[in-house]
C-alpha cells in the first residue's frame, strides 16, 4: 500500500475520519456510530422498510440491524409494526420525536458534504459522486456474483 496511491486507503481514511465527525454530531441525540446510517435512511430517505431491507441497503449483517434498530426504538426515535401480509416481517417507522429533529439532524450531513467537497466545483462534486457509485456497484456486483457461483457449485456437488 504505497502512500497516496491506494484507492481503498483513501476510502478507508475518508470513512474513518468522517465517522468521527458524524458521531460527534449525532452523539447529542444519543445516536452512536452504529445507528446513524439507519436513522438517516429512515428519517431522510423514507421509512416503512423491513429489517431485512435495511440490512441489505446498509450492507450490514441482520444481527447488527436487529440490535441497532432496538437501540433506536428504546431511545424513542423509531417504532416497529408487524407486517399484516407477512407475520415474519417487522416494518420500521420514525416517531414524532424523530421528525421534530429532522432539519437540525439533516444539517450534520449537509455540513459533512460541504467539508468533503471543499474546493470542488459543482461539476467535480457530481463527477465524484458518479465515480464513487460506479466503484460501489463494481465491487457489489463482483461479490454477489461470486456468492451466487459458490452457491451454484455447492448445489451441483
Amino acid at each position: 500500500m504505497e502512500k497516496r496511491k491506494s484507492l481503498i486507503k483513501a476510502i478507508l481514511d475518508t470513512y474513518r475520519i468522517s465517522l468521527s465527525y458524524i458521531s460527534e454530531g449525532t452523539s447529542k441525540y444519543g445516536i452512536g456510530r452504529g445507528q446513524w446510517y439507519f436513522f438517516n435512511r429512515l428519517l431522510l430517505g423514507g421509512d416503512g422498510l423491513s429489517q431485512e431491507q435495511l440490512s441489505e441497503e446498509m450492507v450490514v449483517d441482520s444481527a447488527h440491524t436487529a440490535r441497532a434498530i432496538k437501540k433506536l426504538e428504546d431511545d424513542g426515535y423509531i417504532f416497529r409494526k408487524a407486517d399484516p401480509s407477512d407475520g415474519r416481517k417487522k416494518k420500521v417507522y420514525v416517531t414524532d420525536k424523530a421528525v421534530v429533529i429532522r432539519d437540525e439532524y439533516h444539517q450534520i450531513y449537509k455540513e459533512l458534504n460541504k467539508v468533503l467537497t471543499t474546493g470542488f466545483t459543482p461539476e467535480e462534486v457530481e463527477l465524484t459522486r458518479k465515480l464513487l457509485y460506479r466503484m460501489r456497484d463494481n465491487i457489489d456486483e463482483y461479490v454477489k456474483t461470486r456468492a451466487r457461483d459458490q452457491q451454484q457449485s455447492k448445489q451441483d456437488g
Copy 2:
C-alpha cells in the same frame, strides 16, 4: 440520505463491501479485518514505524494499534524493537514469514483495485484517486483544525 445521492453512503458501502472481499482473501493467512491495513502498510509500504506513527497513518486509536500489532506479532508476521534513541517507542518490522508471502498477498489488493475500477479508463482511475484524496484531506484538515481550536479555547479558559 436520498438514494444514490450521498457521497458518504457510497464511501460507506464501498468500504464495507471491499472489507468483506479483503477479509476473505486475508483470512487464509490468519489476518483479520482489524489487521490487514497495518500489515499492508508495513509489508508493501515499508516497515520500521512506531505504533504511534501507525495509529496516525491508519487513523485509528493507539489502543487498537497495540492489540492489532500484538496479534500480528503473535502470528509471527512482525516483530518489535525498542527504539534506542527513545525508550518509549517500539519500532515495528516485518519478519521473513511476511516477506515470503509478499507477492501473493499483494495480489489481493491489486485484484480489488481492478474490480473497483472495472470499466474505468486509466484517466478515470487517476481522477478518482485524486478526488478521493482531496476529500480525505479536506475532512482530515477540518477535524484536526477543530481539535486544535478546542484545545486552544480550553487553555485560554
